[in-house]
Amino acid sequence: MSVSLVLLIVMAVLYACGIYLLLERSMTRVLLGFLLVGNATNLLIIIMAGKAGLAPIVTDGVEAEQMTDPLPEALILTAIVITFGVSAFLMALIYRSWRLAKQDSLQDDEADVAMRGGAVALPSETSGIDASDTEFGTRAEGAVSTARDLEEDDEDAAADAATSSNDGGAER
């Protein structure tokens, strides 16, 4: 099986960068890392298909050996769809986490901290860096001037929920 060296190098770089980003505490970087690793894995599957060739359509005069292996491409399509769905979920999760904790980095588990004897777990630099690193700033209101007020949205949602639950009650 012959392998394209360019693809191999690209894959290695994507894997290296992706794994580096995955090991970060910042959730946005983890997302980027996941995307890179996902694409690196797709490249790996392409590489495993072997040499590129003609389209895998059976016509006269084309031998099976001349065609590209179609199966890895089918696998990649599935993998791309899965990666796409999971990244969408991750983004929603990051947004939720950022709205709740007002920071992008992952917090330590309370029970773990307690087990370590209540020592403050987060090194002080983490919060400082993240606050200045993110383009959103530290406050929600500062991010986009035209953004809707989140608190207000919540109130609306709560009001909606209240009315809908009332409806449900009436139904029963």
Binding site: M27, M48, T78, I82, F89, L106, Q107, S165
Partner: protein, 520 residues
């Protein structure tokens, strides 16, 4: 009869779609979900009977012949797993219906909970019947994506934090699995498990070992085998009680199931078995030591879960028919018992208002029935005769003793000690939460007062909450099922042994897919 095979995936999938469409009508949604899982249980039971009496079922999806199309295979192991999983999923569903009704569905947004739960079931069943490595990957992804939604249900800060750990770790394991599939495809040119098994023997040993290790790492993360088990006790306890119960019962076992398939079909008689035995030992010991140190019941149970994964890995690592049979029996026992204990923890949380044993006390008086429902599975998990935990461990130890190496004897010793320590950890919960009088709880009053001043009106209800009958009934049903495993241990062990015999060498599995390839 082959037509039954895809039903176990289709029924929950269609059920999920209908439940989603019925999003506004909670009652209809519940009925659809319960009906879907009940019918899967019925289909699974029929399949188990058919498979046990007249041989495995093989379905070539869309009529495409084996190496080109996708095959679904139900042998005794898969059928047994499907039945037990369906039973557990149904019981936990009933529990969560009870809890949801009582909570007014504040904690679990009703419109997505049931569809997601059914999709989780779809993924679990798909993984069990997959005869194709890539289909196994898809099954894993289906159940993982559903589990991401369930573990962050409600989106509170603690759940998002715990969910993030879980999700990132799962993503890494999925990527590893996908990369291993790519490498295996590169090495043998197929993703059909039976064909991989045929061709794997022909490739060089060092390549085999690399591929084997990659697969084991990917599945090891999912099965929570030490040292890849760190994520589990961090992420499981914060989810709602029924979600934790079903995760603890099923998700890690799907990983163990995949390891069994890897060890028996793809890489039979592997060089890595001694290494796996060492990992089994470390999983058992490290897990149980974690459990002994915990004060929170859900975390404690999560650590015992990790610890008991070690027993199953031991059975697999022995590489003998007796070992695989014992591991199969142990998986069935552990799915039922661990789920029951987590449901019990959910009941404790409801009547005591906490899951920390430092804050609980006097529950025996408050609710003798809940005490009983926790005590029986606790003894069972600890391996007290005559319960199924004892039978499973005995079978594992016998299989290990048959092998007779010093490592096997070491594992027998460790297994006995770990089972005692499990019992110690669970009896500590029992003594603190149920046995001691409420008056003995240190700072009982003060914590209450603190909470009241911090959040007035929120905490006054925890003391007086009653437990809905449906939750009790579901837990009682699971306890009854775990006792049933003890009473009917004979027939069950018969099926497990025959399942183990099916997995002796890859030939029987390969023969199902390629009947002509019998010469090997």
């Amino acid at each position: 009869m082959n037509a039954l095979v895809p039903l176990v995936v289709l029924i929950p999938l269609i059920g999920a779609a209908s439940a989603l469409a019925l999003g506004r009508r909670a009652r209809a949604q519940r009925i659809v979900t319960v009906a879907a899982l009940a019918s899967v249980l019925a289909v699974g039971a029929v399949m188990l009977y058919v498979v046990d009496t007249s041989g495995p079922l093989v379905m070539e999806v869309g009529g495409w012949a084996a190496p080109f199309g996708i095959v679904l295979i139900v042998d005794r192991l898969a059928a047994l797993m499907v039945v037990v999983s369906a039973l557990v999923l149904l019981a936990v569903l009933i529990f969560s219906v009870g809890q949801g009704l009582a909570d007014g569905d504040q904690e679990t947004p009703v419109s997505i909970y049931y569809p997601t739960y059914l999709i989780l079931a779809t993924g679990v069943f798909n993984a069990f019947i997959a005869g194709d490595l890539f289909n196994l990957y898809v099954g894993f992804e289906i159940l993982l994506v559903a589990s991401y939604v369930l573990i962050t249900l409600g989106g509170t800060e603690a759940r998002i934090r715990a969910g993030t750990t879980y999700i990132v770790v799962s993503l890494v394991s999925s990527m590893l699995f996908l990369a291993s599939i790519a490498m295996i495809y590169g090495a043998v040119g197929t993703v059909n498990i039976a064909q991989i098994s045929l061709r794997m023997a022909e490739i060089p040993l060092d390549v085999q070992i690399i591929l084997h290790i990659m697969l084991l790492v990917a599945f090891g993360i999912k099965a929570a085998v030490f040292p890849l088990s760190f994520w589990l006790p961090d992420s499981y306890p914060t989810a709602p009680a029924p979600v934790t119960a079903v995760f603890a019962g099923l998700l890690t076992k799907v990983g163990v199931y995949a390891i069994i398939r890897t060890e028996t079909v793809i890489f039979p008689g592997s060089e890595l078995n001694p290494a796996l035995m060492v990992l089994a030992l470390l999983t058992m010991v490290v897990g149980v030591l974690g459990a002994v140190a915990q004060a929170d019941i859900k975390r404690l149970l999560s650590f015992t879960l990790v610890s008991h994964i070690g027993y199953m890995i031991l059975g697999v690592a022995l590489g003998s028919v007796a070992g695989t049979a014992a591991a199969t029996f142990y998986i069935v026992h552990h799915i039922v018992v661990q789920t029951t204990l987590f449901l019990g923890a959910g009941l404790i949380e409801r009547i005591g208002g906490s899951t920390s044993i430092t804050k609980l006390g006097g529950l025996l008086k408050a609710s003798p029935l809940v005490a009983l429902l926790f005590f029986v599975p606790a003894l069972n998990l600890g391996g007290i005769p005559p319960f199924s935990g004892f039978i499973g461990k005995l079978a594992l130890f016998q299989a290990a003793a048959e092998q007779g190496t010093w490592l096997a004897w070491l594992l027998i010793g460790a297994g006995a000690v770990v089972s005692l320590l499990t019992l110690y950890a669970l009896m500590r919960v029992w003594n603190m939460a149920f046995w001691r009088p409420a008056a003995d709880v240190e700072g009982y009053e003060s914590t209450l007062l603190d909470n009241v001043s911090e959040a007035p009106g929120e905490n006054t209800m925890t003391e007086t909450r009653t437990v809905p009958r449906l939750m009790i009934a579901a837990t009682a049903g699971m306890v009854a099922a775990s006792i049933g495993l003890t009473v009917f241990a004979g027939p069950l062990f018969g099926i497990s042994s025959r399942a183990g015999e099916n997995l002796e060498g890859p030939f029987q599995y390969v023969q199902l897919v390629f009947p002509e390839a019998t010469d090997d």
